[in-house]
Amino acid sequence: MTASLKSAKFSSRYKLPALGTLIFIGFIGILLTLAVYPLAEWQTISPDRFAGISLEHPLGTNALGQDIASRAEKASWHSLRIGFLVALCAGLLGVSLGLLSGWYAGRWPDTVILWLTGVMEAIPFYLFVAALAYALRQFNWSMELAMVITFWTTMARLIRAEVIRLKQRDFILSARAIGLSPGRTLTAHILPNTLPVLLVQLSMIFIAAIKAEVILSFLGLGNNSNISWGQMISESTHEVISGHYMNFVSASILLFMLIYSISLITDSLQTRSDPRQGIA
């Protein structure tokens, strides 16, 4: 009886993250396979408009006769790139400012960083991106930059709280007592202990960046030299009315697969680090 109870516990605890990992591996696997066996060129315009599913066009073609599968592939890479880039940069910024602010809690570096967080969180995101894009007209990465500038704040707040919590713990006090420098204490002793929070927040930034990019490029605020899911969905809004679904379906299913798989993994990470079930 005990054994069956245990296995039931096992399955419910690991089924969902396992499903998430499976979807993610499948997603990356398809992309890698397509890198080895390339599809048609995504920009090529052909007279074959709104073609159905065929060997030549596995997901059909769009209004310009372009191959949807290869466009979806390019868009997937584009989203992954943005997700990783923004998560990395915003994460780095948030972690360093959070460490600093937590270490100097109550003193002026903390006050300045908290103030900056408050200011950034008060500005509406989409308008900020638009304004920044305008101010940095010559710069190709203004959207990514805007995301980095706005997405670091939650990470900084969480890391700050963690540092303040950990600073009171005995092992940190003893590390400081034996004369370890603040920098070393932070990186060698405090940072590793913030890892659960850090990882969860990183994947949240990843998700937020991908979602935001889709909406921005749908609205036409994205980087137009690249194909993205948002653009595919934007094209498709006129097509679904006339019954052409492939553009919409392929972009939205890929988007869902990627975000859902990451959410499933993150969620189990979060539940494990906080058994009371943290904030979604």
């Binding site: 509406p124 308008l127 605020l221 009315i241």
Partner: protein
Amino acid sequence: MPIYLRKTLHSLSLLLGVTFISFLLMVYFGPDRSYAIAGKNPDTAQLEEIRQQLGYDQPFLNRYFTYIKDLASLNLGQSESNGKPVSQLLAETIPVSLMVLLPGFLVGNLLALLLAMVAAWYRHSWPDRLLTNLSLAGVSVSFLIIIILLSTWLCTPQGLNLFPSRGWRVDSLASWFTYATVPSLALIIVTVFFNLRFYRALLLDEMQQDYIRTARAYGAGPFSIMFKEALPNTLIPFLTRLLFSLPAILVSGSLLLESYFGIPGVGKVSFDAIFNADQPVLNAIVSLSAILVIVIAWLADFIYPYLDPRINLQAETP
């Protein structure tokens, strides 16, 4: 220093920061309006004169102070694309946005709270698992996809074709239902998915407290335990989430909803302003919504002591 004074000062410093950034982005590095005003082939003298009129020749700080003064006196300038005063434009569009967004936002949050109560009550059994897994899948669906699916289903000949797919001619409750139902539904769905798990975690935390055990021991039923015992203890985080997502919904949410459904609200106005580089309009919306966030945070600090008697604003906290 009394704590409410400190909080007020903090809010003022945030205001200063937000206005500084919007000044920097929209005015200082923003579009140069002198060419547009001067018309075709201006000579240097003409340009210089216009630049003087616009105050472009002033030093940086002077321009910033003029900017703040204008903002404080609600002198928001005129829209460049249609020449209307920005304040009038906002006065026309804000009510429309509120009519589109507020009902869906409130209903969505209340529904999320009720479902969270169900989930927290049946913790770890099937209703809880169903709801949490559903909402995890739900937050993974982009708002955009939900809007498109809903409007394709309800507003096109492909689907049920019950509602107009675009537009806004609202003068009565019936016409409100015609034009606002689909956007509201989309907003409700997103709000429920987005908040359900958060509210569940809040309630679950309370359900494990000793005072709930006391209530159970003294014969309180499910309704009483949830609404009279647990809920009052979650009001602060609940209200915080509600209040602080309001500005984001009003600006970012309306941007997508209104541009998709062609509703002339704040979102549509800012969408147009972005594409026409209509700087005074953008500037006003960014500044005002940031001010809204800060004012809400400031107000919240004064509401909290009424929700939790343990919070005392007079007391000095370290």
